[in-house]
Symmetry: C2
Subunit: 502 residues, 2 copies
């Protein structure tokens, strides 16, 4: 069993002393994966591997197969000699086999090691006439109709592994910063302010009053408010959890079911309230640089494999290489990502003299075309836009003190815009002042003292304090890091209006 | 910034070389938590901490407060001298404050270090007259009506941290065993075989045909089948994900929304099929012992805090100490957890001469009273019961070869029973043989070639192979490890029939 030898000292204190027990490790461990075998230095090691044949080249006296067990984009070259007999002839792409043999130095180019097969057993055939996943280039659109089989393609498998690695790195980063991962509920009383975008649970009998929970239940659109309840006890909390939107509009950036990484935490008060927004942006930049750049993920095999999948993208090879280099630079450079205020962004957009489809005006939301220009043209990289007008932002954002050049109230918030993926993260300082929160809710027609939001007011009534938070679209982060064009290829089994397979 | 120094060598290969970049760490790091401060050796260190006052004892010239920031069950003793003036008088339990001062060796007993406060700022008052979370013992029932505030109690906060730690250890364990964490969907086409226990998404217009996805959508009751699709490419996959059951029955072991840890993976074929079930049980035992015992969680502060919360339990102090010792022994002992077949279990139950409420008969499911007796009386610890009759188990379990003493077909499966928490894990060898799967589905009135399960058959049609899997009730594991009596106290914001707050 591979023991976890890492333990940050601060976790150790809570977890207690790790007792050494000599469990019978052989009884518990699974055999090594291809990734593990290839990472070791042993040669002449006897191994047994099960997996799928990704390709096979049959010669007169020998056959060369590439075997994948899903553990890495790199397969294991398996060398079948003629004395293995008829069985090898049955092997086609997609066949599941079990092989026993020795790992030896490979005389061929393209791999350091290979497996000299002593024994082969066919576990499951794969009829090349009817198998929907053929060697030929398969379009994303075609594969979306084979949700159960498309993980067998290199791009989807690499994406699923990248999700796992990225989650792991984010977990490490946030644990080291003193955060607790909290499971907030999926079923909630909130209907996203009646916007009609929340999925509703059907009543259990034809009478609408027969609600399972006695009142209507919806699928959550954001975990923020629930996380705030937890941050008011646990201090620093986050979650990576599914969210849902019944949006009819179908774009390459939206899913009906998607995963959000959301965090909420308490901060030390500052004399200049705008400094909290700056610190919040810095923290988010650090979390992304730490988990994507410093972790090594950006240089990993799965990210390499994803950027090589040209069928996801119609841009030229050169443009694609440049796009990748920009992402690598963004997450590995010491240079801070620029921050500009909404008001400055509006000035830059007006100065550009571009004939925008949506007119630029202080007080209007930034549209996709504006965001795209700001990050892709003005900055050429990630960009924080901060301090938006209060009127176009949700009730819970903290009002800024009045500032020259801003006619109306702004709030301490930011959107992180990145080239290609658009808005990647949004966050804000939360309004912790009870009277200000009440005003803000009233201005949006909400009642802080009513049944619906009374609990949210309680968080401020009883020992509230300055706190901040953000939400990061996990599929968008994957798309940005892996150069994946459409969020439908950023989640194993995507759901959108009109489409839910399995 | 606390850097993550751990990297299992096998992950390294996929992630690429970790580049060293000297990011401006001060810009990104949050200030240390109380847990981090107490774990360090520094004294006379200047710190700034925000948090909540858990208790305050005011003397004539000095006041002693205990401050919590949610990072650990142990608070930080803060010493307020009289020159801090009026502000200290305002402090009551639950008040949110920011303190600046020096960490010094504590002259008092009960803590090694304390904070000598130089400055104190009140961030949020907490009116002792109206604050619902008073010092007096609060019952779990009372607290369930204050979902947003109950994380402020020691027991709920410890439970949330324990969830986070346990998840982290499980993630480490499974990553080291070569698994990928996969996000399977919450919205599915499956209605749990029409058992009426799946929540259904309401159509978006009054006409039932106006489905958002064109066909009815349900909330998943298990991620297994979807995970199987992924394991047929990625080899070893798992998830920790919400599941839903619209069960009207209300027990201390059931929630409408709960979290399942589910894993599926490929195995090397064996000549004796029953050996797969044995190996599967061994693996599950290793995963629990590794993540709960060997990780140190079982001896950690949060588990200690949870077992000390007597209000969760009506048993005597002595019985509770014994119950805890049994859990510690189970997860730290080298001794293998016993395995008995269903047939042996039935024989033992009959031999017991107990007057069971539900009669014991080969072919009937084991009832809670039977399971309780087997784990608590017969074994006094965790117990695997294996090889149940096929007729009482789901279609996807692998048929065993016929065996003496068993009149009907059994399947290669197990339930892990533990004292107090009951069935903790269930798993099986999955039926990988296409014809056997078809027979099994037909016997349960299902059509493998139909639209509904055609995809599941495809997994066997195209390169299938022997594979196994299990599902672990995450709340039940927490309840067992932390001695928590009711699963409603095992999740931050529980939902059950008639109850969904926030």
């Amino acid at each position: 069993m591979n023991r976890v030898s890492f333990r940050p000292c601060t976790l150790q204190a809570t977890l207690g002393k790790r007792r050494s027990i000599s469990t019978n490790t052989a009884r518990f461990a699974l055999p090594p994966t291809i990734l593990q075998i290839l990472a070791r230095n042993e040669v002449d090691e006897k191994v047994t591997v099960t997996g799928w044949v990704k390709s096979i080249r049959k010669q007169k006296r020998v056959a060369f197969g590439v075997l994948s067990d899903g553990s890495s984009p790199t397969g294991l070259q398996a060398v079948f000699h003629e004395d293995l007999g008829e069985r090898v002839k049955q092997i086609t792409n997609g066949t599941s086999i079990c092989v026993r043999g020795s790992i030896v130095k490979s005389p061929g180019s393209g791999q350091d090691k290979e497996l000299l097969v002593d024994e082969v057993e066919i576990l499951g055939e794969c009829d090349p006439e009817t198998y929907p996943i053929q060697k030929k280039t398969l379009t994303p659109e075609y594969l979306r109709d084979y949700t159960h089989l498309r993980p067998r393609t290199g791009a989807i498998a690499a994406m699923v592994r990248l999700r796992s690695h990225l989650m792991r790195e984010l977990n490490n980063y946030f644990a080291n910063q003193g955060f607790t991962y909290a499971h907030t509920p999926i079923l909630t009383s909130g209907d996203a302010e009646g916007g009609g975008e929340a999925f509703r649970i059907a009543p259990v009998s034809p009478l609408p009053s027969h609600e399972f929970f006695t009142h209507p239940a919806y699928l959550t659109v954001s975990h923020q408010l629930h996380l705030e309840a937890l941050s008011h006890s646990l201090g620093r909390v986050y979650t990576l959890s599914p969210c849902f939107r019944a949006e009819r509009g179908v774009t390459r950036r939206h899913l009906a079911e998607f995963w959000m990484f959301e965090a909420e935490w308490n901060v030390i008060p500052t004399t200049d309230p705008r400094a909290q927004t700056v610190a919040l942006c810095d923290f988010v930049e650090g979390a992304i640089k730490g988990s994507v750049g410093e972790s090594g993920i950006i240089h990993g095999e799965d990210v390499n494999a994803l950027w090589q999948h040209r069928e996801h993208d119609s841009s030229s090879e050169d443009d694609r290489a440049k796009a990748r280099e920009a992402v690598v630079l963004a997450v590995t450079s010491n240079a801070a990502w620029p921050k500009i205020s909404y008001s400055e962004a509006v000035r830059e957009l007006l100065k550009s003299n571009i004939d925008w489809e949506f007119p630029v005006r202080w007080g209007s939301p930034l549209q996709t075309e504006h965001e795209k220009w700001l990050s892709e043209t003005l900055v050429g990289g990630p960009l924080f836009v901060t301090d938006y007008p209060a009127a176009i932002k949700p009730f819970y954002m903290r009002a800024n003190p009045a500032m020259e050049g801003e006619d109306e109230t702004t709030v301490g918030c930011f959107d992180l815009l990145v080239p290609h993926a658009g808005e990647l993260v949004g966050g804000s300082v939360r309004e912790e002042r009870l009277n200000k929160l009440k005003e803000s809710m009233q201005s949006k027609g909400m009642d802080m003292d009513g049944e619906r939001y009374g609990w949210y007011g309680d968080l401020r009534r009883f020992g509230g304090g300055p706190h901040v938070g953000f939400g990061l679209g996990f599929e968008r982060l994957l798309g940005w890091v892996g150069g994946i064009n459409n969020v439908r290829e950023c989640v194993p089994m995507p759901r959108w209006a009109g489409k839910m397979d399995l």
